[in-house]
Structure formats: C-alpha cells, structure tokens
C-alpha cells in the first residue's frame, strides 16, 4: 500500500482570459510536510481554493485516501479531514477562544442548547496535546496575533484533520514562536498527517519540509526532496531564470547628518529613549523582532502616535511633528507596513492614489484641482517607478503587490521628502519585483534622500542598507555596519531586551 494521502491530478482552472491552473498535479504523502512555493500569482492559492471547493475546478481529479472527493465548501472539506490555517486569521475576535474553536459545530444538549463544559474540557485537551498555553475562556481580541494563530492551528487539529494547509503561517511570528509552530508541525507529522506548507521564506521551508513543489504562472514546475535543494535552486525554479544577484549595486554617497532623533519615548507603546542620526544619501536599516517597536518608531517620528518625550531635528531645526500633515510638510514620508489596510485606496485609480498626498500642488485659483497637472505627475510616476499598468485610470487593487508599492513610492516622491521611511517595503512582493524595489531605494539614496528602512528580512537589510540599528523591547540594542556584520550578530542584539 502506498502512503499517498492526498493526490491532486491534472487540475485545470480557467478564468475569463487567464489560465490560472494548467494541469497541475500534487501528491501529499502520509506523515510529511510538503512545501508549496511560487511567486505571487503562481497559482498556489488557486490550487488550494480548488481543493477546498471555494473554486470549482474545470477538470482534473482530487483523491483523498484513494477515493475521489469534490468538496463543495470549506465546511465539507473540514468534515472530511482537510483543514486550512489561513494567512489572514479569520476569527470572531469579540468571542472567546473556545467559541471560536467550536464555531459551526458547537456541542449541544437536545440539539440547540450549547454544552459549555464539554467545549471547555475538549479545548483544554487539545491545547495540552499541542503544548499551547491559552485560557479557553479569554476573549480572542485580548490575545497577541501569535497566540491567535496557535488557536487557529488547534482548531484545525480539533477536526481530526488528515491534511492541514498552512498559508504563510510565520509572517507574524517571532523566532521562538516559529520554533513552537515547528514543534507542533513535527508532532502532526509524526501522527501521520500530511502538511501543505505555503510560504515565501526559504530558510524555513528548507528546515521544515520533506518535499518542495514549485509552481510558476499556473503550471507545475518541479517537485523535489527538500534535501536536494538549496536557496539558489529554489529561486531559479520560481523565477525561471538565474538571479545572479539578489541586490542591486550601490552607488549612493553618504553626506552630512540631516535627521537627529533624540531620546524618543511614546505614551502608548514601549518605545523608550530611542536616539539615532541619519545622513544624507544614507540607507539606514532598522532590525528587530516583532514587538521590538520598529513600526512604532517610524509612526512616532511621523507624528501619528503620541510622543511622551524626545526631540526630532531636521537640518538642526527641531520639527517634532504632531500629525502626519505636519510631518509631510516638514519633509518626511512614510510607506506603511500594511499596504492594503493603510497604504492603498483599493477602489480608486492610480491617478488618485498617486496624487492624494500632494493635492495642494494641483490647485488652480486656490480651489479647483487641475486634472491635467495631476495626470502629468502620475504619468511621470508610472514612468519613473516602472509601474506596469494599462493606464492611470486602472484601479490600484487590480495591480500586483509590487506595482502597488511602486505607486505608493511615487506618491511620496511627489511630496518631495528629504527623509523616506519604509516599513517592510517588500512584504508580500514577488522575488522579481523585490529587486526593482531595492533598485528604487538605492536610486533614491543616491539622489540624496535619507532612507530609514524597517525590515524583518535579514538578508535584505544586509544587502541594501549602509548602517543598521537593531531594536529590542522598544530600545536600541545596538548599531552595526551592514558591510561587516552577520545575521547572528543582529539576532543576538535583537534578543538583548526581550
């Protein structure tokens, strides 16, 4: 008897105008972790949606334990032992933990009165088996994201799932939490579950998975044993060409100090006495674990979180912005971390998304906006940022993550900032598009802008920045030169005040 648990055979799915999946096959072995990789738009999530019945496949077969299945919705999939831990946690935040776990299948007396005791007991049992330490009665919104994710995993396990799909499970986890997650995954693997692990993080994939399947443009490219792969091979498979260099050459000249931040502390977060300088034409990286206060630092400088004490000097003049408007006027710009939540205006077109921070410049007779001027600047931005779009009237949400990010860069450049703050500028962006963003950053620095770049991707910080400050527990734990430091040194500093 072979030990193939799930087999997806020659799945094809067509949307009007696009072949989203073209004859894709996938075999998941019992007791194994199978990584699914590919750039955004490669068809990974479409394939999963076909498995869960969110999309109906045009042709092909899905065999679970040798029997053909055709799930109509995720509930049916769940009941047959196929579960998914979503990347964007889909939870009822105002309800407690156990209500969330048993949602849709509450144990009851007489079919309608819920059995709280059983829910509590069963929840504890699952948590104990997975080594999760969370009170089943606590309201979901009071938990940090990492624990909410653990709850979501426990929920998947509670369905007695044979197949569990993890979609980018580590994007919001710290190093230790990732370790815990891997321990849970290992436990599930020992139990004989088949795990499908979708991630962009290659180090993790090489560490946890047994097999790796790479997809590109809706087609299956390769399935290999993880032991036979390394990072370069994976990248080659994913982008279909050899990326000889992941980072562009640097040609920026570092000039005099332009920004001085002194003893910055915030009222509502753990930001504590942060001081640093930024030079003209310099790319300053900010490293640290989740919760280290990196985003809070940028937001505080930008004036959108309350400052308890400290001063911010631009060209030796104190500016201390109290709102984003003041910050922009002083010459600061911030590309936010959550692009979809507070970066783009999804249903508005590129023109509006490009000009929104700079409307003052397009006024004619102090009242009317000149469409012509706006269009001119938008065209400039599309050209200068190499934005791939049919026209400036395209809704921004239809663009890829990388192109959306370029529109936002364009938006901020129009405000003619001296300091550009970037919060995770390449999150959720394809390997290929990342390179273009790096190029853009280096180019801006060589044009004399000061750049502060927060990132969780260590290689990116080392490859793009000149200098890196490492934050830990809301403080600065140290400062290193990108050219002569190592990931290990940064990690040690990042753990200093945890």
């Amino acid at each position: 008897m072979d030990n193939i648990l799930l087999e997806m055979k020659n799945i094809t799915k067509e949307f009007p105008g696009v072949k989203a999946l073209d004859n894709v096959s996938l075999k998941i072995h019992r007791g194994s972790v199978h990584a699914l990789m590919g750039e955004n738009g490669a068809g990974k999530s479409t394939l999963m949606k076909c498995l869960f019945g969110i999309y109906s496949k045009d042709s092909g077969q899905i065999l679970l334990d040798g029997k053909e299945v055709n799930f109509k919705n995720s509930k049916e999939a769940l009941e047959n032992g196929v579960a998914m831990v979503h990347q964007e946690l889909n939870q009822a935040l105002k309800r407690n933990v156990m209500d969330n776990i048993w949602l849709g299948r509450y144990p009851t007396h007489l079919g309608f009165v819920t059995d709280e005791q059983k829910m509590y007991k069963d929840t504890l049992e699952i948590f104990e088996s997975l080594n999760i330490n969370v009170d089943p009665r606590i309201v979901m919104s009071k938990l940090p994201v990492s624990q909410r994710q653990m709850v979501e995993i426990a929920k998947a396990v509670s369905y007695d799932s044979k197949i569990i799909v993890f979609d980018e499970p580590t994007s919001s986890l710290t190093e230790q939490e990732v370790e815990h997650l891997f321990a849970i995954i290992n436990k599930l693997r020992e139990k004989g579950c088949g795990i499908i692990y979708i991630s962009h993080k290659m180090e993790e994939i090489l560490k946890i998975s047994d097999y790796v399947t790479v997809m590109r443009d809706g087609t299956w490219i390769a399935t290999e044993k993880a032991d036979d792969l390394d990072m370069d091979k994976i990248i080659k498979l994913m982008v279909g060409r050899e990326l000889t260099t992941r980072f562009p050459p640097k040609n920026n000249n570092i000039g005099e100090v332009i920004l001085e931040v002194k003893d910055l502390s915030s009222t509502y977060s753990n930001l504590n006495n942060v001081s640093f300088n930024l030079h003209k034409g310099e790319i300053l990286g900010v490293a640290g674990l989740a919760g280290a206060g990196r985003t809070e630092l940028l937001e505080n400088i930008f004036g959108i979180s309350e400052r308890k004490s400290g001063s911010i000097k631009l060209h030796g003049k104190e500016i201390n912005p109290k709102s984003a408007r003041q910050a922009i006027r002083s010459g600061l710009a911030l590309v936010t971390e959550e692009r979809r939540a507070n970066g783009i205006f999804g249903i508005l077109d590129i023109l509006n998304n490009t000009t929104i921070s700079n409307l003052e410049d397009y006024k004619v007779r102090k009242l009317f906006l000149s469409k012509r001027k706006m269009r001119k600047d938008t065209e400039w931005s599309i050209k200068a940022m190499h934005i791939k779009t049919p026209s400036h009237e395209t809704q921004i949400r239809t663009l890829s993550g990388g192109n959306q990010q370029k529109v936002i860069f364009g938006r901020w450049l129009l405000t003619k900032p001296e300091i550009l703050m970037l919060d995770e500028p390449t999150r959720g962006i394809d390997v290929g598009a990342k390179y273009e963003i790096y190029q853009l950053i280096v180019q801006l620095a060589s044009n004399g802008k000061g750049i502060i770049m927060v990132s969780s991707e260590m290689p990116e910080l080392l490859g793009v920045c000149d200098r890196i400050i490492v934050m830990s527990g809301g403080q600065i734990a140290g400062e290193v030169k990108a050219s002569d430091t190592t990931q290990e040194e940064i990690m040690t500093l990042a753990a200093k005040y945890v």
Binding site: S74, Q91, K94, L103, G104, S266, E296
Partner: protein
C-alpha cells in the same frame, strides 16, 4: 475561573499603581462608568427637587413603561449585534397594535371596525400578532442576507411599506381612518389587569410577560447554538462562514426573531394605550436603538448583553420621566435626550479605540 467574579481584583491592581498612573486609572474609571455615575446623580437631584419621584407609583410607572419597551429593544439589539439596525420596528409595532385592537374590539362598540365580527379568542389574536411581526422580520432578514443589502436600506423600505399597509388597514369597514378603541375586556384585563399590587399601586400584568420574554431572550443569546452563531456572525461573518455556520440562515433568523419581538410589543402596546391610531409605534425604534447603544450594544458588531439592554431601556425611561418631573419643557427634552445618546455613544466607542 472565579476570577471573573473577584470584586477585589480591580482594587488590587489599583494598589499596585503609582502617582500619575493612579490618577489616570481614576479618570478612566469615571469616564467608563460616567453613565452610571451620572444616573445616580440625576436620580438624587431629581429626588431632591421633586420628592415624589421615588414614590411607589412613580417607580411602578417607570418599571411598567420600561417593560413595555423592553421586547422591541431586545429585538433590535439582535440586529445591531449583526452590525445592522432596524428602522421598521416602530411601524411594525403600530401595524400589529392596530390589527390586534381591531380584532379584539368589544361587540356592540359604536365605531367597531368589523361590526359583524364576534370577539375573537385573545390567544388566537396574539398568534396573529406574532405572525405579522415575524413575517415582516423574515422579509427584512431575507433581503438583508440574500441580496447583501445593508439593513438600513432594507428596513427603510419595509418601514414605508408597513406604514402604507397600516393606513390602508385603518380605512377598513366602519373605521374610516380613525383610532381604534373600545377593547374587549378579555384583552385589556390580560395585559393591563393586575394580579399584584404594592400598596394601592397595581403592577400591570404585562410587566411579568416582559420579564418572562427577557428571560427567554437571555437564554437564546447565551445558551443556544443560534445565539452563539448570532454573535459570531456579528463579530466576523467570514470566519463564521468558513467554519460552516449558516450565515444567511442566522441573519434571517435574527431579523425574524426581532420581528416577533415587535409583534409582542405591538400586542401589549395596543391594550396598554387603549386607543390606537396610525401614530402608534412612531419612532419607537429610535428609542429602542438609543437604549441598546446606551446599554453597550455596539454598532461595531458582535458585542452586547441582555443586561445592557435592560439597563439602557430603564435608564432612558428614568431620564424621560425625570425630565417631566423636573418640569422641563417638552421641546427641551428632545435636546437633552439627543445629547445623552451622543455622549453615551462616544463613551462606548472609547473602549474600542486603539490608541497610539
């Protein structure tokens, strides 16, 4: 698990704070409980100015007025928990009240709408009342869930439709649009009769019905699968959906249940008022929504407690009655009511703001 009931916990926390933080904690406490503090102060002041405010008849009056408004508020609360609202509630109450009254006029009454109709069994009319409310609620829920319309739009429309039907209904038979009175004794005694009196003040029977209904609603909200699903859908419909909750069914059921509650309110209201016209029920939904919001049922969705609804209804009633006791001009009363609702919502919203 007894932690939830540990009354000393907040004080222990307070003792651990220092200087400025203590001051902040006290301010927070006053802001978060300002409603209750305000109410206690208001009661004391009204009582000083007008000592009859806390007399037995006045208290029974406040209680029975609250009881009459409780079912409609409980119904609307469910809609608010789904991040919706219901503007049709008041008009449904009006329609149900007029239909109930017309079917239960005493025989031989001069202006009887249906002179040929014998007095119907009162419980049959109750069923009709619940059915009318339930059907309109079902339509509200169906349109909200199936057509993915905001309940504001749906109930704005049904409100007009129901009002039109009510006006046409009042033109029936001998009635010619007048108000309907002369209710049969079987009806009025069931609702406004009394089996218990405090001193000389009788407590009307509908107070007990209202209490029973509140208990049933508490059970539905807190102990049943349907109740939990309602909160889950209100909190995150997408999560509920992927977990296999029948979201459409839950929304329809919540609105239908709300409609049935309006039916109850209409049935009680007709007998309580005695003389019903097209104006019966006008703006009841606004008082009910205000009561819910004051009681912490949040438009954010997924948040609300039966206890809160009760407190909201009673507090609002104390304000209304209190303002009258103070002899404040009726026009001014609207201004005060409006401000109280606004402030209550602002305080409620504070709890959900993430401060940076």
């Amino acid at each position: 698990m007894n932690e939830r009931f540990n009354i000393k916990a907040p004080f222990a926390k307070y003792a651990g704070l220092s200087g400025a933080d203590r001051k902040k904690a006290i301010t927070e406490f006053f802001i978060n409980n300002s409603l209750y503090i305000f109410m206690i102060l208001a009661i004391i002041i009204i009582q000083i100015i007008s000592p009859r405010f806390l007399s037995v008849p006045s208290i029974v009056n406040i209680i029975s007025l609250s009881a009459a408004n409780l079912p409609i508020a409980l119904g609307i609360a469910g809609c608010i928990i789904l991040t919706g609202t219901d503007l049709s509630a008041g008009r449904i109450v009006g329609l149900v009240a007029c239909v109930s009254a017309s079917l239960l006029q005493e025989s031989g009454y001069a202006n009887k709408m249906f002179p040929g109709l014998d007095t119907m069994p009162v419980y049959l009319v109750l069923l009709i009342a619940l059915a009318i409310g339930g059907i309109v609620g079902l339509i509200n829920g169906f349109c909200t869930a199936k057509f993915h319309l905001h309940p504001f739009i749906v109930t704005l429309s049904t409100q007009l439709v129901v009002y039109g039907i009510l006006l046409m209904y009042l033109m029936n038979g001998n009635n010619n649009g007048q108000s309907i009175s002369g209710l049969d004794i079987s009806y009025s005694s069931l609702i406004t009769g009394s089996i218990l009196s405090i001193g000389t003040t009788a407590i009307p029977n509908f107070v007990w019905y209202s209490i029973a209904i509140t208990a049933i609603m508490w059970f539905i909200w807190n102990k049943t699968k349907f109740g939990k699903n309602m909160f889950a859908v209100g909190s995150n419909p997408e999560a509920a959906n992927v977990s296999g909750v029948n979201v459409t069914g839950t929304i329809i059921a919540v609105f239908t249940l709300a409609g049935i509650m309006y039916g109850v309110t209409g049935f009680i209201e007709a007998a309580r008022i005695g003389s019903n016209s097209a104006a019966t029920g006008l703006n009841y939904e606004l008082d009910a929504i205000a009561a819910c919001v004051i009681g912490g049922v949040s438009f954010v969705g997924g948040i609300g407690k039966i206890r809160g609804v009760i407190i909201g209804v009673v507090l609002l009633r104390i304000i209304f009655v209190g303002l009258t006791f103070l002899g404040i001009d009726a026009n001014m009363q609207y201004v005060i009511k409006g401000l109280i609702i606004l402030i209550a919502c602002a305080i409620d919203m504070r709890k959900y703001l993430v401060r940076k």
